[in-house]
Amino acid sequence: MTPLVPLPVAVPITVAAFLLASGHFLPRRVPDLLAMATALAMTVISAVMATRSVSGPLTYWFGGWSTIGAQVVGIRFQVDPFGAALAAFAGLLFFATFIFAWGVFEKIGALFHVLMLFFLAAIDGFVLTHDLFNLFVWFEVMSVAAFSLTAYRLEASALEGAMNFTVTNSLASFCVLGGIGLIYLRVGALDFSALSQAVAADGGDPLFLGSFALLATGFLIKGAMVPFQAWLSDTHAVAPSPVSVIFSGIMVPVGLFGVVRLYFSVFAGSGVITTVLNTLGLWIGVASALLGGFMCLTQRHLKRLLAFSTISHVGVMLAAFAILSAPAQAGFLLYLLGHGLTKGALFMLSGLLLATLGGIDEIGLRGLGRQVWPAGIAFAVGGLLLGGAPVGLMDEGTRLIDAAASQAHRDWAALACLLASALTGGAVLRATGRIFLGWGKVAGEEERGPSEQEQEDANRPLWLLLLPAVVLLCLALAEGGTIQRYARLAVVALMSPGQAAHAPVPVPKPPHPILPWISTLLALLIAAFDLFRDRIPHSILVTNDRITTPLRHLLEPMHSGRVGDYVAWIVAGLAMLAIALSVAS
């Protein structure tokens, strides 16, 4: 048992406890430096584990326990390449965020770093663990740290956003706990291997189906999938920018990864669940992708816009997972990494705008971005990447997903995901054009911004604000030959837990190499459409309104901001899953 395994969880907790005890006594910048060093160290350790686990999973039994006879009594971490890669990515994102957040949280001092380090420890534990209740514990720690971090700003809307977030995600925790109760009743163990053996023996047992329905509901709430997605836009609108980077960059995708991990490590032996995921899962993913993309275009608050684009891209990831083939999972990993880097950079850039220009409203900031034009270039690059440009990690992921989709005769899903990318990319490009180039003048009362003034402190120079975002974008643009091969190795261990990844999954032939170009072009067209409305013939505008206005009237009430609505939709989603599982069995 290599002693590296518990470190990504234990070290951030210890450092955070130390910071909590001594935060008042330490000089001003020491908590920042300590947190940065911890995040960097955890990235390195996770990366080392990621390479070592290719030749076989690294198993670590906590407390020295393993089994008594045939019964598993201890908790173990089983580090596989997929999970370790996610842990390394989390560490990297946290490191960049700590640099970005240098000196931001003066009022609460070291408490920000304490909560963020707890958050990092929880994410690492979540992706590395091999025990169901341990998974739940880290899931809850992630949630609670996130609740506390969101509630930092004290204007009224920040508090309401935090309340919606806390209520919906607490319900997610309760659903997960209920699911654990049901499966424990049936199997009498909590270790993934023991559970998967039981599921493989009797996959249609209603207890397994009920447990999966509750567990999937809980994780899909965290993953902001339809119909559980409404809390994300509220939360992102009010959370401080460094915190938003973490939410969209790693927390929401890791929530979805909970479903992935559970399926492949526990429930894959159940034919009923496989069928339901392959159909309903795919529809939910595509619906989220399209809903997120469409709502993205209707937003003028930059962070809400980016939040909807997260929903859209995580929907693409869910669709990729739901295809259930190996190349699709490899695409999932690459897409997650590329999206996390790009989205993190975009949130950092929005934070930059908030800090230097004092606003976050796209229309209110029109033309003001010229003062910070380097950020404009970065924004445009981010928008192009989201829109499906044929470079970088996200594109590698998209290509694998497209190929997997056509292999599985689900080309419609690939096309829907293309449309979703174009919508979100177009929205970001539109924002870039409006803010940094001054295009897209909007007449009349639209010119007035929303009522509440937002502000973040800018007590650091422009280059320091810009640097982490630029670095993340450069990483996202990296040509992913090695990473793609690593992903294809990692899925072997993901889909057959416990096996070494000897040979990478073969790359299927990409069906239509022109797709990324179409997607990018479409994104540019959508941006141009909104920016140059006054030059477009009236008839086209009327047709466009006739399509989009009913859609808006349908979808906007779903995001009303009232927590009762969100909870009602959660129950509806749970009912949908339960009925699908009953029908399929």
Partner: protein, 257 residues
């Protein structure tokens, strides 16, 4: 969405869920009459392996110690969040005068209330400490006992009023103590690794079953949890009670200046 639409959505969803739930219940094992392999493995072997007699404590701090570490972290994160929220909007200084809600009288403490609170607070404190001290023998532990100890502190406020209570409960030392509680748990995890054992492995001498000092590392971890929980809840009480105070008024001299 209007209220009635929301409730209609809920009702329709419940119509879908109820048959599934009934079907699920029909397939559940009989209540109380199904095998408990995990529980039996611990019940039959825990005493021998860990020299403790309370199996729940053995599970919490030994067999599944990492889970409890996560739970303690959760507790600290939630407490930090609540404290950050409440303190942030008003700063740390407030007058000690009770705030006045319009139309409500300020209730005076009766002699009976003061007497009972003064009698019971130390008793409950002792009881709480008793619960914390020997979880390996009888039901109890840091989580339960910590809450009881914090509530004993609250009784002091009930009996003696805000000012004496605040003189006793100072936020800064309590925060530090809470963090030390968490640090103890984390360090108890690392210490076994120094001697080559696994994280959180029970490497201390286990003692004799039934003795007050037995169970090895369990006692130390439990002490850390007890401190963290008691201090966490005490902090919450301090911050919430401070909300009942009136705002600070400027000094008359400053107003004239």
């Amino acid at each position: 969405m209007r209220r009635y639409r929301r409730l209609a959505l809920f009702a329709i969803a419940m119509l879908g869920i109820l048959p599934c739930m009934i079907g699920l219940f029909a397939h559940m094992p009989r209540f109380g009459e199904h095998p408990l392999p995990y529980g039996d493995a611990i019940n039959l072997n825990g005493v021998r392996q860990r020299h403790v007699t309370n199996m729940v404590t053995a599970v919490n701090f030994d067999y599944r110690g990492v889970d409890t570490l996560g739970e303690e972290i959760m507790l600290i994160a939630a407490t930090v969040g609540a404290v950050m929220l409440l303190r942030g909007s008003r700063g740390e200084e407030l007058s000690a005068r009770p705030g006045r809600a319009p139309g409500r009288p300020i209730a005076w403490r009766s002699t009976g209330q003061v007497l009972i609170a003064r009698l019971m607070a130390p008793l409950i404190l002792l009881f709480g400490l008793n619960i914390i001290i020997h979880p390996q023998l009888t039901p109890g532990g840091g989580f339960q006992g910590g809450v009881i100890v914090a509530s004993a502190a609250l009784l002091i406020w009930l009996g003696d009023g805000y000012r004496p209570w605040r003189r006793l409960m100072r936020s800064r030392p309590i925060e530090v103590a809470e963090a030390i509680g968490a640090a103890i748990y984390a360090l108890c995890g690392f210490a076994p690794m120094v001697v080559g054992a696994a994280f959180l492995q029970n490497v201390l001498p286990l003692g004799k079953t039934g003795a007050l000092i037995s169970g090895g590392l369990i006692l130390l971890i439990n002490a850390g949890v007890g401190i963290a929980v008691a201090c966490g809840f005490a902090l919450l009480f301090i911050e919430f009670l401070q909300e009942t105070r009136a705002e600070e008024e400027p000094d008359p001299e400053e107003r004239e200046a």
